[in-house]
Symmetry: C3
Subunit: 116 residues, 3 copies
Amino acid sequence: MAIKRFHGESRGRCRAVVNSGLVYAVATDTSSGKSVAEQTRRTLEALEKTLLEAGSGKGGLLQATVYLRDMSTKAEMDAVWCDWVGGEENWPQRACVGADLAGADLVEIVVTAAQT
Amino acid sequence: MAIKRFHGESRGRCRAVVNSGLVYAVATDTSSGKSVAEQTRRTLEALEKTLLEAGSGKGGLLQATVYLRDMSTKAEMDAVWCDWVGGEENWPQRACVGADLAGADLVEIVVTAAQT
Amino acid sequence: MAIKRFHGESRGRCRAVVNSGLVYAVATDTSSGKSVAEQTRRTLEALEKTLLEAGSGKGGLLQATVYLRDMSTKAEMDAVWCDWVGGEENWPQRACVGADLAGADLVEIVVTAAQT
């Protein structure tokens, strides 16, 4: 069992963990006063950076969970998601649900991806 | 890394993805005016169809997340779930939580399953 | 495909399932009249017991999802989590979101862990 952990700024948790060719990653954007579109852009930018560091990328996406503070913003999030994720060869299985989030966060995205 | 993707009707996401013998799948029922029991039945029917296409099935279930719009309907969902899932040799680890869902959806189910 | 299932007290679902060196586990504390801190302690105690039974432990943690009934209790949960999880060699990728939970449950924790 080899586990590689990518620590972020938070205690007690990692932004990514790698094991057996799979990357488990999470990203959010903690800046306040932003729209959902802008927070989604920044979240996906951070997520992609983490995936690349961990030896994966958009092409390795398997499963995604998108948590939205307000489901009425789903279309706004989705437009940014679709631009980001690219062609259908990248599309993960995804669920998007409304949930309360920490601080001023409007969106939080968790993925499982294969190393590529 | 071989990834097989099962596209549904939505842009930017798949109803199932297969990698390394694991199937990541999601299902929901977007028809309105239905009870939770009826939506759960239709969701599980769609999920099972997807699992079979992807080389798995009820016997391969490992992990499930059930999102319910209204947790007061959990007993109603659970009755349908228990009928569907069958004997204890099929039971996955499962969490059921209340979350806001898109459109008229009352229930959404995400699973990880092993190919069988 | 070898799947090992750890049944709990509930019908239709397991508290843990093992497949291909990965453990999928869930824990909660159904006792009422407890604080979030106390429920978190009891939940993590149950979770750890299950992980050990399943051939894993804190050192194998890969991914965690913490569902909290009330996100204003996150700091209280986090203090217990950080004490429990220990050194950064154990830290999983983690998301913590607010969601409605069954009965009197204030916290529910789902993890994926590698067998150690």
